[in-house]
Symmetry: C2
Amino acid sequence: MGTAAVVVVIFTVTHGELSVLLIERAAAPCRGQWALPGGVLRGEETLDGAASRKLADESGVSDVFLEQLFTFDHLAESTAGVVVAYFALVDVARTRLRPDLEWRPAWHPVRALPPLAFENERIIAYAEQRLRNKLEYTNVVYSLLPSRFTLTEMQRVYEAILGEAMDKRNFRRRVVGLGIVRETGSTRKLGAHRPAMLYEFTRREPMVL
Amino acid sequence: MGTAAVVVVIFTVTHGELSVLLIERAAAPCRGQWALPGGVLRGEETLDGAASRKLADESGVSDVFLEQLFTFDHLAESTAGVVVAYFALVDVARTRLRPDLEWRPAWHPVRALPPLAFENERIIAYAEQRLRNKLEYTNVVYSLLPSRFTLTEMQRVYEAILGEAMDKRNFRRRVVGLGIVRETGSTRKLGAHRPAMLYEFTRREPMVL
DNA sequence: ACAAAAGTGTTGAACCTACACCCATGC
DNA sequence: GCATGGGTGTAGGTTCAACACTTTTGT
């Protein structure tokens, strides 16, 4: 009851849908149900350290956007006193999920979640809200895309998260005008005679616009 | 080490300055130093419940803006494993500080804090930042003012927190135009023949604009 | 042929900022 | 008479949202 635990909401965008990484619990309590990756703090570990470790363990990535979200208490069926939730944004192409026989991790679209243990629905809903807010006034999306990408790909990510179509010209003007991305100079070949400009983020780290 | 504690950053505006409630510690550790009100969780108490209790104990008010801020760990000299910080906004006119012989509470301007225990400077700085942000896109200021007030009084609160003078006409247009305050119809007598319009918040509860 | 993705400008509305003076009162 | 606080309108700039068509390729 007195111990603190950490859970991580790991988001990605894949197949045009905002998705979250869940693991199927192989042990009690809530065996067989899906839940967010997490666990109790080890020894002298810091909260950030524990979240970062969990993220790396389950998704295989580090050096991505990872931030403390909220601290929950008295979650149903939980044995931990307080649960410090984090949220992370990863480019699905860089992840390597480990299908250990049990505890196997899988991506689930946030619009179609299975039943979850420990009221994890609340945590995910809160994280999704925060993500939508941060999209508007920060460059966090850098953490969901590869280092080079077309503006249409970037726009697809925004649309998947916000759940609404955007105007292409306004979108381009905004992201280029604010200086959050710049042209790389190189292009991607779409066909024999059709180059598409590739962009990159001016900073691959959190910034407030 | 495994236990969770709660601290509360209680802000008010008085004498035109943003101030925070501190207590002088009467017991070890850090006896004699100033610190934020706080303590460990009692039994089955929730985090919100503990924060609310602390707020009421030290300031005598409830039913004000109170929100979880951030969870800190490994604070210097702290015996608690994790410290869940909250922040609250109160109208100084409604508070009743209890000058118990020891642990006596007092308001301190955030621009002139005494040396603090447990790295409480960090917590206060973080809370102040969050407060400034919330001023811009919410109506949280309702919790710093009495139920009826003049627009100049309201503007003074904004100026004290943001630390910059604002244009009176633009300010009035904004707050009335956004519908966060409305005229009450009644006035305050400034002199024999000089009424000043009193305003009230359309909602005395948190709202995002 | 059709669908998918890249690319490209203009216009009107809304919003934001800067700015100056009058009046009544208390000291 | 001077400082304090309430009260009032406008003009210019910036930002935002809405809007349609062309090109090339793959199926």
